[in-house]
């Protein structure tokens, strides 16, 4: 599979900017969440993807808009890329009645199925049990194929979660059935406090795929264009019948597991090293070096996403909490209880 084909070379200026926009927006949404968290407006924990926005965005950017994503908690960038309106995230984190889960489930646990013929993605948030998304992702791509509207499913998974039985069973099944599933396995050096050396005895996370006989590659996860290139090749291959693939990304979780975790178990030198490799900074630099965009273009986007995130948070803040009278509604079919659809938006660069 390693190939020299670089799909990123075909990206337009708008696309270059759009990728940055999605990553920046993801970061700004999270920055807003931190503020809300400090104000005790976030219910439960807050999990940052700081330093990983690039790989989430660049991998999702390789998809078509009608494909399926199964993000994990740290794939905020995948959600912005597929067009989830930021307000949807804030609603979820604040457990509002207006959220897709109507306050019943956590953070990014939201689900979107497009109406027939709609040019929209399938979005299936995780459940907390790590690894479970992988068999479900395989089922989504298989089911879509059976239903006659094939798509490629992309699922993200942490280094830690690759140690679960569900990951193994799901990816092996997808491999055998040649299901168009691209798994992005994120080596961000830790699973909570557990360093990758206590998680797996392989040097490269993509070797997890060697047990399944599927294409796999490891890429610098903080180099957005590199991620995009490999993801795009894998997605295209999957779409044209190549079956499942695994894209390993080498990156770093730049904060603790969640807001409560000061991550003192992470050597400072490691953090410093990776801070210098911030994916957004690097991307800006690369794009500018290519002459595609200028400092001001990025500054404009930064201003735009910052105020957009702030405004969306504000809108969500004002929304009502769930009505306790609705508690028992919708456990079973037939007791219909309206589910707010996830609102999808286009970027200014679309």
């Amino acid at each position: 599979m390693p190939s020299s084909h670089r799909p990123s070379e075909a990206l337009s200026r708008n696309q270059f900017l759009e990728m940055y926009y999605f990553a920046r927006l993801a970061r700004d949404i999270e920055e807003r969440l931190v503020i809300l968290f400090r104000q005790s407006k976030v219910i439960g924990g807050l999990y940052r993807s700081l330093g990983q926005e690039g790989e989430s965005v660049a991998s999702a950017y390789a998809l078509q808009r009608t494909d399926a994503i199964l993000p994990l908690i740290r794939n905020m960038g995948a959600l912005t890329t597929m067009g989830v309106r930021p307000r949807e995230i804030f609603r979820q984190y604040m457990a509002k009645a207006t959220a897709n889960s109507r306050g019943r489930d956590l953070n990014i646990h939201l689900v979107h199925f497009p109406a027939d013929g709609a040019h929209e993605p399938v979005i299936v948030g995780p459940i907390s049990m790590l690894g479970d998304s992988i068999p479900v992702a395989a089922g989504i791509a298989m089911g879509a194929r059976m239903a006659g509207r094939p798509l490629v499913a992309m699922a993200w998974i942490g280094d830690g979660a690759t140690s679960t039985g569900a990951f193994h069973e799901g990816l092996n099944f997808a491999a055998v059935q040649k299901i168009p599933l691209v798994v992005v396995a994120e080596d961000n050096k830790y699973a909570y406090s557990t360093p990758i050396s206590k998680q797996m005895a392989i040097a490269r996370i993509d070797e997890r795929a060697a047990a399944y006989g599927i294409p796999h590659e490891l890429v610098d996860g903080n180099d957005m264009l590199a991620v995009y290139d490999v993801a795009k090749r894998m997605v295209d291959d999957a779409r044209s019948g190549g079956g499942a693939a695994l894209l390993g990304v080498d990156t770093m979780r730049m904060q603790g597991h969640a807001q409560h975790d000061d991550a003192r178990y992470v050597p400072k030198t490691l953090v410093d090293e990776w801070r210098r490799k911030d994916p957004l900074d690097r991307y800006r630099k690369t794009v500018m070096e290519r002459g595609v965009a200028a400092e001001t273009d990025f500054a404009d986007i930064d201003a735009m996403t910052r105020s957009y995130a702030a405004e969306e948070a504000r809108l969500a803040e004002d929304e009502p909490m769930p009505d306790p009278a609705t508690l028992t509604r919708g456990v079973y079919a037939g007791d219909d209880f309206a589910v707010p659809r996830v609102e999808l938006v286009r970027s200014p660069f679309a």
Partner: protein, 324 residues
């Protein structure tokens, strides 16, 4: 009408549902050309092809997980678990992912998970379980277990057409032993409705699955001794048909709860709680449970015979109750 075994009835339901609805497909271990360990899916592969009869690796998590995903895309998966004991391996996927899905995001996990349960065939501790009560504390999940060929077919059709996840227990002792008249035309047995298999005024035997036959045999014996037992076949274990249960107990004033799973923590507890809470004023005697002994299912026939409920144990308990 046709005289079918329980197993044939299940197979017929699969054939008919797959023919009726293109979205229905079967997924599991050895369900394809081989036709399943018990031959339940026999003929499906030849008729509907590999795309709709999916042989999987030995991966119960993947079977249930992939079914959930496919159902999200509008399909109607029917998972076969080779022995239902192995659903333990997918316990998380079924209870946490599938059962909560609608409640959380309105996403229907319209899957059926079916497989052979129950003992009496020398299967030992891992091929004989009746795991219903492992799943009874899981809102969002439905569970059924037929006792006749008629119900097996009708309940499976209902399960497949149901928009919620349904665990469908097939008692393997009945596969080839239960044989009864099954209508030729399409029908469903609605989930949530119990059946009164025998009317009686003296004691209500509330049961399901293979134990229905034990209960009926016991009732016949009791009748010859002047005790008229009513036999209730729950059919649906989640939701339970509270009305029918309470009506029967209101009539007989005595409840004997009979199940094949081990006693402590079995579904008899839930039944007892419903009755003791809602039919207390009608009760003339303690609620009695007859169930398997509190041990793993032993393999050796003399042990398994001692382990399982049987006609004598039911008769004895019913007589004690009536005498109370």
């Amino acid at each position: 009408m046709a005289l079918l075994t329980y197993l044939e009835a299940i197979r017929a339901a699969l054939h008919e549902e797959m023919a009726r609805d293109e979205r229905v497909f079967v997924i599991g271990e050895d369900v394809g050309p081989y036709g399943g360990a018990f031959k339940v899916t026999d003929g499906l592969f030849d008729r509907f092809g590999a795309a709709r009869v999916v042989d999987t690796p030995i991966s119960e998590i993947a079977i249930v997980g992939a079914a959930i995903g496919a159902s999200y895309m509008g399909m109607r998966p029917v998972c076969e678990i080779q022995f239902i004991d192995f659903i333990a391996n997918a316990f998380d996927m079924l209870t946490n992912f599938a059962a909560t899905s609608r409640y959380r995001n309105g996403a229907a996990a319209s899957i059926v998970v079916r497989g052979p349960c129950g003992g009496g065939v020398g299967g030992g501790p891992f091929h004989s379980l009746n795991p219903e009560s492992f799943f009874l504390n899981t809102p969002g999940l439905k569970m059924v277990e037929p006792s006749t060929a008629h119900d097996a077919k009708g309940l499976l059709k209902a399960a497949i057409r149901d928009d919620d996840p349904v665990l469908f227990f097939e008692h393997k002792f009945l596969y080839r032993r239960a044989k009864d008249e099954v209508p030729d035309e399409d029908y469903v047995v609605p989930i949530g409705k119990a059946a009164v298999r025998r009317e009686g005024r003296d004691v209500s035997i509330v049961t399901f699955g293979a134990m229905v036959h034990t209960a009926l045999d016991a009732a016949a014996k009791l009748s010859s001794e002047g005790v008229e037992a009513e036999v209730l076949d729950l059919r649906s274990l989640a939701p339970l048909d509270r009305e029918t249960i309470l009506e029967s107990v209101a009539k007989t004033s005595r409840a004997l709860l009979l199940h094949e799973a081990t006693r402590t923590g079995g579904i008899g507890g839930e039944l007892a709680a419903i009755i003791a809470e809602e039919a207390f004023e009608y009760l003339d005697a303690p609620i009695v449970r007859v169930a398997s002994a509190d041990t793993p299912v032993p393999y050796s026939p003399p042990l398994e015979a001692a382990f399982l409920p049987n006609v004598d144990k039911v008769v004895e308990a019913a007589k004690r109750l009536v005498k109370y």
